[in-house]
């Protein structure tokens, strides 16, 4: 059997109305890999990310993440799957009425970590992305790049084994996008499996590239 940390087998995702976002794709990702998922917009990248995070379920086929069959996971099991994942969303999903620090604290509070320990870990995560001096600010006061780094801090604060990012550099200028990508590489170097969905073909270096086109994998 495979030792893949992410295993997508013959997955099709059809939306009501007949749109087929993914057509029978299979992907295996080994632990510690760095993978770019690329393709034109509408190729199915975001759909695949949502399937991996159990936000949606495949119409057919199976999705295995960290040994769990996501496509057959009971609603009770979903939170525990997500605690193994660091998720970074295209629309960021930051809580705008909470401070930067509280946003990073959320995954720790949700999992019931001791408060003092959580504070230490949240500060460490903010330090790693260079936002420690902005911890009291509201996300709205941050620049686009800083907001993206805040998302990364929130995604890694729980020390996930897999980091999945959907278009993390889409709204950033080239220099900033490079910094963000470097950050992902540094997490990868300490053993985190990284999957980045991006339409930006310029920075596909130092990693495996999987290209999607119209819901299928192109070689």
């Amino acid at each position: 059997m495979t030792q893949s940390i992410i295993s997508v087998r013959n997955v099709t995702k059809r939306y009501p109305g007949g749109l087929e976002a993914l057509s029978g794709i299979s992907i295996n990702i080994e632990p510690g890999e760095f993978v770019f998922l690329t393709g034109h917009s509408g190729a199915g990248k975001s759909t695949l990310v949502r399937l991996l995070a159990a936000i949606e379920r495949p119409s057919s086929g199976s999705v295995l993440v960290a040994g769990q069959n996501v496509s057959a996971l009971s609603p009770r099991g979903i939170p525990f799957l997500r605690r193994n994942l660091g998720l970074i969303f295209q629309d960021q999903k930051l809580l705008l009425d909470r401070s930067v620090f509280d946003n990073v604290m959320l995954p720790l509070i949700v999992t019931g970590q001791p408060y003092r320990d959580s504070m230490r870990r949240a500060r460490a995560a903010l330090d790693k992305v260079g936002l420690l001096d902005r911890e009291k600010a509201k996300p709205i006061a941050l620049s686009g790049g800083e907001q993206q780094r805040l998302c990364i801090a929130r995604a890694v604060v729980n020390r996930p084994s897999i980091l999945i990012a959907d278009e993390p550099t889409a709204s950033l200028d080239t220099e900033y996008a490079q910094t963000i990508t470097e950050m992902f590489h540094s997490f990868n170097q300490v053993g985190v499996t990284v999957l980045i969905a991006t339409h930006d073909r310029e920075r596909l270096e130092r990693g495996r590239v999987i290209t999607l086109s119209h819901g299928r994998i192109t070689p």
């Binding site: 009770r76 939170p79 997500r82 969303f89 809580l95 949700v110 019931g112």
Partner: protein
Amino acid sequence: MIAWLRHHWQSLQYALGRFAETPFASCANIVVVGVVLALPLGAYALLSNLQFHAGSLPTEPQISIFLSTAPGRADVASLEARLRNAEGVRSVRFVPKDTALASLRRLPGLSDVIASLRENPLPDAFVVTLTSSDADVSVRLETQFRGLPGVGTVQVDSEWVRRIESLMRIARSAVLMLSLLLGLALVAVTFNTIRLQVLTQREEIEVSKLVGATDAFVRRPFFYQGVALGVAGGAIALCIVQGAMLVFKADLALLGPIFGILPVLRLLALPDSLSFLLFAGILGWLGTYLSVSRHLHTHGSL
């Protein structure tokens, strides 16, 4: 276990924090619940007071027999023996007219009237206590006693007690129905409050779920909020009712000497108050449960 306790503590703080964020709206909600709950609680307090007073009334059926003429000592003895021997009689007490007048004189307001009388207008009387409150028995004895020599008026005294009791039974049912209806209203108020809160908190719920929050985690603060709403509203209702009773008590104390009665208005006791608060909390929980199971899945599920 520690994590679980910690989370309960955080949820409580969080729920109180939400209260504090919108103090005016929260207070308005609590007052609505308080007023809604004050109605059945007040009715209950009134009823339990009436019941207390009704309980101190003689519930054993009695027949008063007033004699038409002033009897001799021997007549009294023979009449008493005949009454005592009648079937269904528990005890017989002779009340001479002087004793009756003396007890009337003790009532405030009447002593002046009595002093102005030249002679005692009251008849001698027997008070007969019956063994059963069966209406047939009292009717049979009433006719039997009326036929005895020297007897003027016969009066069955316990009728009105029984009437009060049946009225109280109706009142109890009415209070119960009122409580059910307004309890329903409390559930509905909580339901809506929590629904609005879920809508306000939608983003936060979504993000929490994305970073691995369980349903129980997401629901818990809402439960604290709903129960707090019920209990706080219940506390307001208690204050309203107890306050109103204190006002009434002062008024009754003024009325007392005028009507020659000594009314005792009892406030709600501690066990009653505590079980009322518990009940309000349970209703709040129920409203939250209904709301959360309905709305978290339509708005927060991913």
